[in-house]
Amino acid sequence: MLKENYLDRQKVEMKLARQGFGEGIVELAKKNTNVVALGLDITDSVKTGLLRDAFPERFIECGIAEQNAMSIAAGLSLVGKIPFVATYGVFCPGRNWDQLRISVCYNKANVKLAGAHAGISVGPDGATHQALEDIALTRCLPNLIVLAPCDYEEAKKATLAAGEIDGPVYLRFGREATPAFTTLQAPFAIGQAQIFRGGKDVTIIGCGALVYEALQAADQLAKEGVEVEVINSPSIKPLDEETIVTSAKKTGAVVSVEEHQIYGGLGSAVSELLAKKNPAPMEFVGMPDAFGESGQPEELLKKYGMDQETIVAAVKRVIARKS
């Protein structure tokens, strides 16, 4: 599932998850002429440009009009198209949430929306462009599937899976090139989590690029004799309840890891599940109810507590709370 020597930071290949998204759309479009994409004036950056270049007649430039585009996409899908709408996460689902709720979700429109540039690691653009609320915004909507892949390869698989099913899907990506540590063969299915590393003392559940940091933290902790189970949960909704509950039962302590506000994200989803099925002490690694700022990704991840060191500390805290 994971590439050989993936923990070697010097050697691991760095790739854009959103590139996997763009390539995935093109692959889908080759098989299905109904696949179209809507441009929102950041077309190259969010990689819908790949479809524009491959199939110009199936690309619809909407300008800087996220609300309009979301409802247009719903209309397109009601006539049988499979539209992909992508821009930065702060604008989609940020700007066009009501259109997402009614035009898309209430209609069960077959629209695939993507938020690129999610997380604090967006960096120098600052708070306005760092999508840290998008999981909360989408997770609460009926009929909507929410996916946050952990690297390039998984982003591509998630895009393909989204295109294959009938119904609305939200896909979340970061801005930076991040470790491409999963293999082509690694399984992916909506509603499924994967155990990337087995352990008995504590469970880390993460999504997005921070899963790699969780694995680094687990490796560091192993040297101190702590056996961490690391679960990658790209499918935030539906959540893989069985894998998560089974692991929590085994380890009795859970840490969630995500580049998202601690309120409303993957951590919240996991805690809702565990509160119902298997209560366990939990720590939340994520944005501590704050707006971000400008800076380099590493500086910001450290300041707001979403780096390897913070994960290690959270693991230790949660183990201390085990009964």
Binding site: D41, E61, G63, R95, P124, G126, A127, T128, S294
Partner: protein, 280 residues
């Protein structure tokens, strides 16, 4: 005090180049293109403001709706004396007051935090409506991009301002004909822009966006319009002053490398020499 405004605008452009080089990210074309408008607004006596007292009750309100061109706003504020020019080089860096998009809590002189396109004109409408209710004479200046006009919210605000005859607003549109995906008329045609605003109940004026005298005159004229909000379509050249950036949408969100910055600064400095020669 007699300041040489074109020279000041040129220096602001030089500062923008140096800021963006240092920051390694940010928006070049729009920032350079609007230096003359900002010079007129802040240094040419158009907007009422006091750098020594940013919270002055009588000040005009300036809202930068197209927040991504904040390098030109920051450089102009520094030239006006709001904060030391040396600080300009901290743009977009960790801990800096010069955030990638304006944050009103950290830097003096900023009226609103912006960066999500299309919201500033509505903010300006709210300010203008409230100021009028309070019988205040402060004017509200709202800067927007031409690509930004794609946003539906702009037209919601335009209708609102027309309905309430918010004559204490002047919107200044940076009509540089570019946005990220290309030329505005290819991405989403805006023309006839003047007639659109007229039909929404606005008083429309146009200006050469690089003739500071004309800009100053036109902006001042809009303060005399009663019963209607005003919009000034400022025809600018994106990347103005740097030949390899001018008119190119690629330079919307790209910054110069060291070599390009050197070239850009040379061009601007020699232009500056031309402008000042008759005075010196």
């Amino acid at each position: 005090m007699d300041i040489d405004l074109p020279k000041e605008a040129n220096k602001i452009r030089q500062d923008i180049i140096e800021m963006l080089l240092e920051a390694k990210s940010g928006h070049s074309a729009g920032s350079l293109g609007m230096a003359d408008v900002f010079t007129a607004l802040y240094l040419g006596g158009v907007a009422k403001h006091d750098p020594k007292n940013p919270a002055w009750e009588e000040r005009d309100r300036v809202v930068l709706s197209n927040g991504h061109i904040c390098p030109v706003l920051y450089a102009t504020l520094a030239h006006a004396g709001y904060f030391p020019r040396e600080e300009l080089k901290t743009l977009r860096k960790f801990g800096s007051r010069l955030q990638g998009h304006p944050n009103r809590f950290v830097l003096p002189g900023l009226e609103a935090s912006t960066g999500s396109l299309g919201q500033g004109l509505s903010l300006a409408c709210g300010m203008a409506w409230a100021l009028r209710l309070d019988q205040k004479r402060n004017h509200v200046w709202c800067l927007t991009g031409d690509g930004e006009q794609d946003e539906g919210q702009i037209w919601e605000a335009a209708m609102f301002a027309g309905k309430y005859k918010l004559s204490n607003i002047t919107q200044i549109i940076d009509r540089n004909n570019i946005q990220i995906d290309g030329h505005t008329e290819d991405v989403m045609p805006l023309e006839p822009l003047k007639e659109k605003y007229e039909s929404f109940g606005w008083h429309v004026m146009e200006t050469d966006g690089h003739d500071i005298e004309e800009i100053t005159h036109v902006l001042n004229e809009t303060k005399k319009i009663f019963e209607k909000p005003s919009v000034v379509i400022a025809h600018t050249i994106p990347g103005y002053g740097v030949d390899f950036m001018e008119w190119k949408s690629e330079w919307h969100g790209k910054v110069p490398c060291a070599e390009e910055a050197k070239n850009a600064l040379n061009q601007l400095r020699s232009l500056c020499g031309n402008i000042t020669s008759e005075h010196e």
